[in-house]
């Protein structure tokens, strides 16, 4: 057997060349001897080493391929791998299921030990592959999220929906807990090993079952955690990008033919009635609508008020007293108003006649009536003489 350290040293020394081989292999699915010779500067010794250490394998048609073990090791070192199709992960469903059945039907101790070892191996591989894929998915999603400048919106949408349809949804189905899922089989294996680690009569088998129990129990926790990452990190972001795309499609359809589609039904505003009990709220609503609108304010010139005659009792009483004695009270009123207003209206005339009820004057009715012509009517009044104060 070749000393492993010797192989590692060789890998270290010629890593760049081996990396080129890895890339060619990935690109073309095979490597030609001429290419290898060019890469290694026609050094036969080095090419022989490659073959001796089984880094490359010769095929019947004399072409070479990179050994799968090295291939996955280098891809791990370079963090360079593409997502596995969900089918590649789902295959573990079958393998774990058949191993589980085998364990249940195993009769000899040897058979049980071998099956458990196979179960442990298989779950290790599954967990490894799952983790790789989930962290790759998270990385890809974050790339879409972060590269606002590099990726335009349609490109983002396309990438997000690819990821969702091809990987995230199938993965989620594989991981969810239902009778067809991997988690379901893992649960069965946990149950079985949990019982056996206590009930089995063979001490040695008890230990082996305990180990199986621990490793499956850990894996289950890991899957739940990975699924949580998928649900909490990847799906919401992809959904958000996807929902943006739906909104866009809907909006464009609506713009193209808006009368064919329904819109949200809201409530019409109520009619504003000033005397209703809601007036305060309605007014408030209207004001809220106007805050911030700067309307032009136009102020009209105020019109001057008309000179309106008002009956001022004290003023006319004083005048009356000054004019004493008065032959006829009603003629005096007419003259007073005519002097002041020119036109004597009946309304003003009657207002001023109220002076006659004043207690400070002494009046005497004469047995004679006269007509007085006012602007709006003719009135028939008695002759009243006012002589002095009481």
């Amino acid at each position: 057997m070749i000393d492993p350290k010797k192989i590692l040293r060789f890998l270290e020394e010629y890593f760049d060349e081996i990396k080129t081989i890895y890339k060619l292999n990935k690109q073309n699915g095979l490597i030609l001897i001429e290419e290898i010779e060019t890469i290694f500067d026609n050094s036969n010794i080095l090419v022989d080493n490659l073959i001796e250490y089984e880094i490359i394998e010769q095929r019947i048609d004399d072409t070479f391929i990179l050994n799968e073990t090295y291939g996955s090791f280098i891809s791990f070192l370079l963090d360079d791998f593409s997502l596995d199709m969900p089918e590649q992960i789902e295959k573990y469903h079958n393998s774990l299921d058949s191993l589980y059945r085998k364990l249940k039907s195993a009769t000899t101790k040897n058979e049980i030990i071998q099956t458990i070892e196979a179960l442990n191996n298989e779950i290790g591989k599954f967990e490894n592959q799952l983790q790789k894929n989930i962290s790759k998915l998270i990385k890809e999603t974050k790339y879409i999220k972060a590269n606002n400048q590099k990726l335009n919106y349609p490109k983002k949408l396309q990438k997000a929906s690819e990821l969702t349809i091809t990987y995230v949804k199938p993965l989620n189905i594989i991981l969810q807990n239902h009778s067809e899922s991997i988690l379901y089989i893992i649960d069965n294996i946990i149950d079985e090993s949990s019982q056996q680690r206590f009930n089995n009569k063979d001490e040695n088998l008890k230990k082996i079952y305990t180990k199986l129990y621990n490793s499956y129990y850990q894996t289950k926790k890991e899957i739940l955690n990975e699924n949580r990452l998928l649900i909490n990190e990847v799906i919401p972001l992809l959904d958000r990008i996807k929902s943006g795309s739906d909104i866009l499609t809907g909006c464009i359809n609506f713009l193209n033919d808006n009368n064919s589609y329904a819109v949200p039904t809201l409530l019409d505003k109520q009619r504003d009635i000033t005397y209703s009990t809601n007036a305060e709220y309605e007014a408030q609503n209207i004001w809220e609508g106007y805050t911030g609108i700067n309307e032009d304010i136009i102020i009209n010139e105020a019109q001057s008020l008309e000179n309106v005659w008002i009956f001022n009792k004290q003023k006319y009483k004083d005048r009356l007293l000054k004019s004493l004695p008065i032959e006829n009270f009603y003629t005096w009123i007419y003259e007073e108003l005519e002097n002041e207003l020119t036109i004597v209206e009946s309304k003003n005339f009657f207002d001023l006649s109220k002076l006659i009820f004043d207690n400070d004057i002494d009046i005497e009715y004469k047995n004679k009536r006269i007509d007085i012509k006012l602007s709006d009517k003719m009135i028939d009044v008695p002759t009243i003489e006012i002589r002095s104060l009481n």
């Binding site: 739906d246 866009l248 809907g250 909006c251 464009i252 713009l255 808006n258 409530l267 109520q270 609508g289």
Partner: protein, 176 residues
């Protein structure tokens, strides 16, 4: 019986076509009393009280849909414009806008003609400043003369999604 706190305000706001937004005190009062108010509005007015994780509002089939359709048109043009610029829809929609920005976007849009009835007579300004503000669909900031859409527009965005899904279903039917 005892009515919930702010009962009068809640009823008045809803009857005036206002959206009650998550984060408002009235929203927090409405949520635990949702069933009461749902029955109350159905029995008293034949209105449906609709609750989402973001807004609560009243809906009725017997109302004109002019406002709703006009707002949907404006939002659709805005979404189309954001897409043409290759920007993120959610980030852009909830930015601060000036009314003039929206008017420009509509003016420059190839879908301008479907909005011709709204554009007339300063229609966009009155739709946004008056109707939308009264209904809590936008939050207007007087200091900066800008506004921001509230989460109430999600009702319209959800409608757009339904329209998209409806069209997808139709396409699939046609293929069969």
């Amino acid at each position: 019986m005892n009515y919930p706190k702010k009962h009068y305000e809640i009823v008045q706001n809803l009857l005036n076509g206002k959206f009650i937004l998550q984060g408002q005190t009235t929203y927090d009062i409405l949520v635990p009393n949702y069933n009461f108010y749902k029955t109350f509005f159905k029995e008293s007015f034949q209105y449906d009280l609709i609750k989402t994780s973001e807004v609560i509002y009243l809906s009725s089939d017997n109302t004109s849909e002019k406002f709703s359709r006009n707002l949907m048109l404006i939002l659709a043009i805005l979404v189309d414009n954001i897409n043409l610029q290759g920007k993120d829809l959610y980030e852009e929609l909830f930015k601060n806008y000036k009314i003039k920005d929206i008017e420009m976007i509509i003016k420059d849009s190839s879908y301008k003609s479907v909005c011709r009835n709204i554009i007339k007579n300063n229609g966009i300004e009155s739709l946004l400043k008056s109707d939308c503000q009264k209904r809590n669909i936008i939050k207007y900031s007087n200091n900066y003369d800008t506004f921001q859409f509230t989460s109430a527009i999600n009702i319209f965005l959800e409608q757009a999604k339904d329209i998209a899904n409806m069209s997808n279903m139709q396409d699939e039917k046609e293929q069969f």
